[in-house]
Symmetry: none
Subunit: 233 residues, 4 copies
Amino acid sequence: MPASCPICEIAANVRAKRERRKDARPGELLAAALELFVEKGFAATRAEEVAKRAGVSKGTLFLYFSSKEELFKAVVRENISGRFTEWNAEFDNFQGSSADMLRYSIRAWWERIGSTKASGITKLMMSEAGNFPELAAFYQHEVIQPGNDLLRRVLQRGVVSGEFEPLDLKYGVYVVLAPMLFLAMWKHSLGSCGAAGMEIDPDHYITVQTDTILRGLAKHPAPASTNLGPVGP
Amino acid sequence: MPASCPICEIAANVRAKRERRKDARPGELLAAALELFVEKGFAATRAEEVAKRAGVSKGTLFLYFSSKEELFKAVVRENISGRFTEWNAEFDNFQGSSADMLRYSIRAWWERIGSTKASGITKLMMSEAGNFPELAAFYQHEVIQPGNDLLRRVLQRGVVSGEFEPLDLKYGVYVVLAPMLFLAMWKHSLGSCGAAGMEIDPDHYITVQTDTILRGLAKHPAPASTNLGPVGP
Amino acid sequence: MPASCPICEIAANVRAKRERRKDARPGELLAAALELFVEKGFAATRAEEVAKRAGVSKGTLFLYFSSKEELFKAVVRENISGRFTEWNAEFDNFQGSSADMLRYSIRAWWERIGSTKASGITKLMMSEAGNFPELAAFYQHEVIQPGNDLLRRVLQRGVVSGEFEPLDLKYGVYVVLAPMLFLAMWKHSLGSCGAAGMEIDPDHYITVQTDTILRGLAKHPAPASTNLGPVGP
Amino acid sequence: MPASCPICEIAANVRAKRERRKDARPGELLAAALELFVEKGFAATRAEEVAKRAGVSKGTLFLYFSSKEELFKAVVRENISGRFTEWNAEFDNFQGSSADMLRYSIRAWWERIGSTKASGITKLMMSEAGNFPELAAFYQHEVIQPGNDLLRRVLQRGVVSGEFEPLDLKYGVYVVLAPMLFLAMWKHSLGSCGAAGMEIDPDHYITVQTDTILRGLAKHPAPASTNLGPVGP
DNA sequence: CATGAATGAGCTTTCATTCAT
DNA sequence: GATGAATGAAAGCTCATTCAT
């Protein structure tokens, strides 16, 4: 180290730390809020608790988010924005079979969303959609729709290439979506209650689901099943 | 009993009516509470609103349920009572292919649970499991486990008979369960927000899911998929 | 007293008392709020304090008034509505000189408003008008305008009859209004500070003002007024 | 002082500028505070807003005033400082009739106080006197009393010279004071609400009031009214 | 039994005030 | 001196719960 004033260095250091702290505040608060909202639900989470978990006081929270509801919105936005542009690009260049592409999609979702805290948002939205119609619409527009579109493209690719049986694409995406979203929600509710028999091993779950779904989608030489009329004889 | 006193009869009648009304109270309250809890969540539902929808006063609610939490527990318990004994019997006698049996199970679930208000408790439990661990355990014991067992028997029957490919039964049940429970939850959250593109037509959804699942489970002459390496290039 | 069940009497009595209390609540709260708002201003008055002075709990206040602002509005309405219809009628039938009529008006204002707690509203409105534009408009419409109109009629009567010099009526009313409203405001602010020399004896004040105003309005060279009897017909 | 060092001059200059700025700070803060207190009242004015309007940070405000209350006191004190010595001198030398002197007094008040921001403190004191008794006493001592004395001298001059009718001087001053103070308060409250019919044109108002007051005070050939005792016989 | 007026703990939100930089 | 991020006491308002009727 060359000649330098140690006092100035300390001062600069502290200032830097302070500014880093200031910049980090919203992130820390959003992280704490995500955790607590997912754990306890929106209404059952007290603002003070979020602040405490983020290591700040009650007042500080409202310095960064003008209301608890605004905090909620910010949590949702923070954890979903911009992922889809990245994903779309990834998919444009995918080389390989459509089955592999679907497998890849599912694994990627799990690694980037499902296995992270962001998966809690799915449960959050399910629980609170009724109380935040505006946010629900936002979520539909920013998350559901892009996700649907992404999956539809994968399925369509498979149908066009002859790998998959033709199917109603709109409802076909739910064949893939439903098991994934269910896993996310389960993880954050009944799956984390500690009761015996409630735990789901995600990797195994995904493997079984993926295999079955792919066989269900695949084009077969012979049709699988005869149809059934209404329930009851 | 021989000739009866008409006055006594009237009195008994009146008493019976009053008792019936008295006995009906909790039911009306539970029905109102179920609706509201499902619509708005536990915390966002006010006790007074439940009372009003049940046509009684606030005080009366607390006459029958010592607290809002007790009311919640009663709502859940009320709506998951022993349907499974009936179902088990039904399944013991089922005649037909296992594919038909699975189809029948799914349709039966939809008609008796999924399409009724009872489906709301699925969403409720997902939302509130964290705040009511005791209830979650109860739900797991009374609903999840029996449901799992039921479905496992169906799958096992198909595997044993050679209709279905062998599969991990524990996770196989989720292949059927996940899409159904997802539908129930969707219906009560994002699906009822009025936003365009969020509605799911249950019958169509069930048809597509069932077809795909059955083809995924069915024993095939040729294996379905090649395996995949790790995610990423 | 004839034969009567003492228990029933007590019960009826208590119920009556309870209902009387319920009916009295809003009035008690309004009275307490008026006092405190005038004493300390709107913002410096805590809702709990109002409740305490009315002998009820914080929650009860919000049972009757949905917000502190609503309470404020109710206080203003309570203390001014309907007085002007009565006053207008009184003035239509007034017999006597216009000087006497003006004297009577001033005395009547003092006895019915100025000397009562209602006079505090004047000060309240002056202090809070800027923060409650909606209320200020309400006050202008319900109080200021009717009061102005009333006074204008008195002045006009005097001018028409030749008792008063012709004058700009719009600004003429302030010749009477200003000293009266000033008295009301003074009473509730600097006049009640206990500082020596700040007290104003209202009767004397009114006498001096009235005499001077009447001489100022009177048509000269003829003398202005004969004496007046007690207020009231 | 003879030849001066230019460097010293510059240094002194800079220091003077800085000190001027430093000395100006409190003044800018007081000006901002006066405006805001008058507009919105003491309680509804936030310290941060005062600071912002003065172009400094929140912390700086508390560097100069130890609390919001101290700021308030300083605002009042600042705006009522010794104008009266100047005025007294002016009045000692006044040449002309007492009517002219009174006219002059009123116009002077309007030009130097009433039409300036200083008139706002009249309203401020009225609104907050109850919460700041110490200030109220101060105000009474520094403003009300001297103002009263000044006016009393004018009236007395007129009475002695035979221009004015004899009158109770203590209450006579309010004949002049009340309309003026009322105008000041009106201007800062209901008069600035934008509601139609609330605006008062000060010049016209003053003209009408002054004319009426002077005629009310003037000595007439025949006395106007003898009454003085309490109302009623 | 049923009622609903009353309660007060508890929550969100505000803002004067402090103090490390 | 000046700053503004941080604080936490305090206020408005809600609502589960009680209890006199």
